[in-house]
C-alpha cells in the first residue's frame, strides 16, 4: 500500500482509479456496442424504433462510465480505506471538509452532462417527429404532410396507394379491453387487426371509448395514451415488413393484462389488398358505424341505467353510433 499520509498520495489514489475507470469504461462501451446495442429494444422495424434504439444506446454508453466510475471508486475506497488497512489517522480538518476545486468540478461536469442530455433528447424528439410518443390532438412535431393527411382523413379525402408518399392515418380505438382499428383512407372500416404498409409514415390517432388505455406498439416504437374524447396522435415511419406486438400499457381494469394483439407490417401491395378486401367484407358493418371522427362520445352511462342520472337536461350523450329508436 502506498503511504497515505504522503501529500502526493492524493494524486496516486485518483490516478489509479482513473486508469482502471478509463480502461473498464472503454472496454464496457465497446463490448456493449458490439454485442448488445444492435439487439436493444424496440428494434429497428420503423425509423422511430431505430432512433429510439440509438438514443437508448447513446444514453447507455454514457451511463456505463458513470456506473463504473462510482463502483470503482466505492470498491477502491472500501478496499484501501477500510479501518483494518488504513490504520493511520483519518483525513480530517478543513481540507477534508471542503475541497472547493472538487466541488466546482463536480458541479461543472454534472451540469454539462445533464444539459447535454436534455439538449440531445430535445434534438432527438424534434427530428424524430415526437419519437413515436402521443402528442395529443395538436402534434407539435408532425412530419411533413402529417397534418395535411389528418385534415384530409377527417373530410374523408385521405388517399394512399402503393408508391405514394402520403401519410397514412390509422385510428386506434381503445375500449375495455381491446383495441380496434379504423382506416379512414379505406372508407373508414373498422377491424380488430392492425396491418400497416411498409415504408410509409403512419399517423396513429389514438382515442378511447371509456377509460384510459395506452397504445403501445412495441416494435414500432410507438406509445400513446388512449383518452376518452381526446385524439392522441403519434407518428412513425415503417421500414421493412415484419410483425409487432401491441399492448396496453396503462392499467385499465380486470383484463388489462390480456389487452394485446399482434400486428403486421406488410408490403405496400399486400397491405392494399388486405385493406380493400376487408373494406368490402366489412361494408355492411361499416355502414352502421358512425361517420369517421377523431373522437366519439361514449355514452357515459353504458347500457341503460348507468352511473349518472339520466334526467340530465344538458347531456349530449350519445353512443358510439346513434341512439336506438325507442
Amino acid at each position: 500500500m502506498a503511504n497515505q499520509t504522503n501529500t502526493t498520495g492524493t494524486v496516486h489514489h485518483l490516478r489509479r482509479m482513473a486508469t482502471v475507470w478509463v480502461i473498464l469504461s472503454v472496454i464496457g462501451d465497446i463490448l456493449f456496442s458490439i454485442f448488445v446495442a444492435p439487439h436493444v429494444p424496440p428494434g429497428r422495424l420503423t425509423e422511430t424504433a431505430a432512433k429510439d434504439q440509438t438514443d437508448f444506446n447513446i444514453l447507455f454508453e454514457m451511463a456505463l462510465p458513470v456506473l463504473f466510475g462510482v463502483w470503482i471508486y466505492l470498491a477502491y475506497a472500501l478496499y484501501v480505506w477500510g479501518d483494518k488497512r488504513n490504520k493511520n489517522a483519518a483525513f480530517s480538518g478543513e481540507a477534508a471538509r471542503t475541497n472547493m476545486k472538487t466541488q466546482v468540478w463536480w458541479m461543472v461536469i454534472t451540469s454539462v452532462t445533464v444539459l447535454f442530455l436534455a439538449g440531445f433528447g430535445t434534438w432527438a424528439l424534434v427530428v424524430d417527429h415526437g419519437s413515436g410518443g402521443g402528442q395529443g390532438p395538436n402534434p407539435a412535431f408532425a412530419p411533413a404532410g402529417g397534418l395535411k393527411a389528418e385534415t384530409a382523413a377527417l373530410l374523408g379525402k385521405a388517399t394512399w396507394s402503393p408508391g405514394s408518399t402520403n401519410v397514412l392515418p390509422v385510428q386506434v380505438i381503445g375500449q375495455q379491453w381491446k383495441f380496434t382499428y379504423r382506416y379512414p383512407t379505406f372508407g373508414g372500416f373498422e377491424s380488430s387487426q392492425l396491418i400497416l404498409p411498409a415504408n410509409t409514415t403512419i399517423a396513429f390517432n389514438v382515442t378511447s371509448l371509456d377509460v384510459i388505455h395506452s397504445f403501445w406498439a412495441y416494435e414500432l416504437g410507438v406509445k400513446a395514451d388512449a383518452n376518452p374524447q381526446v385524439n392522441d396522435v403519434a407518428f412513425t415511419t415503417t421500414k421493412n415488413p415484419g410483425s409487432f406486438m401491441v399492448r396496453c400499457s396503462e392499467l385499465c381494469g380486470i383484463w388489462h393484462g390480456s389487452m394485446f394483439n399482434s400486428g403486421q407490417v406488410e408490403s405496400q401491395t399486400a397491405f392494399e389488398n388486405w385493406a380493400t378486401t376487408t373494406e368490402a367484407a366489412n361494408a355492411a358493418n361499416t355502414a352502421l358505424l358512425p361517420a369517421f371522427a377523431w373522437t366519439y362520445v361514449p355514452d357515459a352511462n353504458g347500457a341503460d341505467g348507468g352511473y349518472y342520472p339520466t334526467n340530465d337536461p344538458y347531456s349530449t350523450v350519445e353512443t358510439y353510433g346513434s341512439k336506438q329508436p325507442s
Partner: protein, 218 residues
Amino acid sequence: MSNSVIQSGTPSQSPEEREYEMRALISSIWTGGRLFIGIYTFMLASLVFSYFYLRSSNSGQLWRPDHVTAPRGFGFAIFGLTLVTGLLAYVGRKRLVKGSFMDFSVAAWFGVGTSLIALVLQIVELSHLSFWPGSSGYASTFIGFSVMNIMSLVISTYWLETTVARGMRIRKELSGENPEFTSHPRARAFRADVAAMSYFLVFLTLAGALLFAMFYLM
C-alpha cells in the same frame, strides 16, 4: 385511580432556558400560522386550477351550459359574512394590541356568529341548486368549492371561538389582569395565537373573494 401529579416528566429549568423555550414557542406559533396559510393555499389552488382547467378544456361543451350559476343571493350573503368575519378578526386584533380586550372579545364573538351563519347558509345552499352535481364542469367544481368553503368556515369559526374563549379564561385565571399587558407565558402565547388567527382569517377572506368572484360573478 390516584390523583397523583406525575413529576417524572418535568425537568428543572433555569430562567434562561425557560425564556428560550418560551420564545421558541411564540415563534412556532408564528411559523405555524404562516405555514398553515401555505398549506391552505396549495389546497385552494388545486380548486382554482381545476376550475380553470375544466373551463379551458370545456369537454363536450359542458363546462357551463346556459351559464348556470349557483344562487347568487346565497353567494353574496356567504361572502359578505366571510368578509365581515375577516374584518372583525382583523379589527379585533388591532384593538387587542391597543389594549382593549373587551373590544377584541366582542369582535371575536360577533365573528363567531357571522361565521356560523355563513356556515349554515353554505350548507343550506346545497339544497337550493338549480343543477345537479355532475351536470357540468362548473357544477362539479362548485360542489368542490362548497365542500372546501364549509371546511374553511368550520376552521375560522373554531379558531375564533377557541382564541376568544382562551382569552377569557386566561383573563379570569390571571385574576382580571388584561392579557394584553401581562408578560405571563400564557398571555404571551395567547397574543401570538390571536395574531396567527387574524392573519389566517384575513387570508381566508382574500382567498374567499377570489373564489366568490370565480363562482358567482364570472
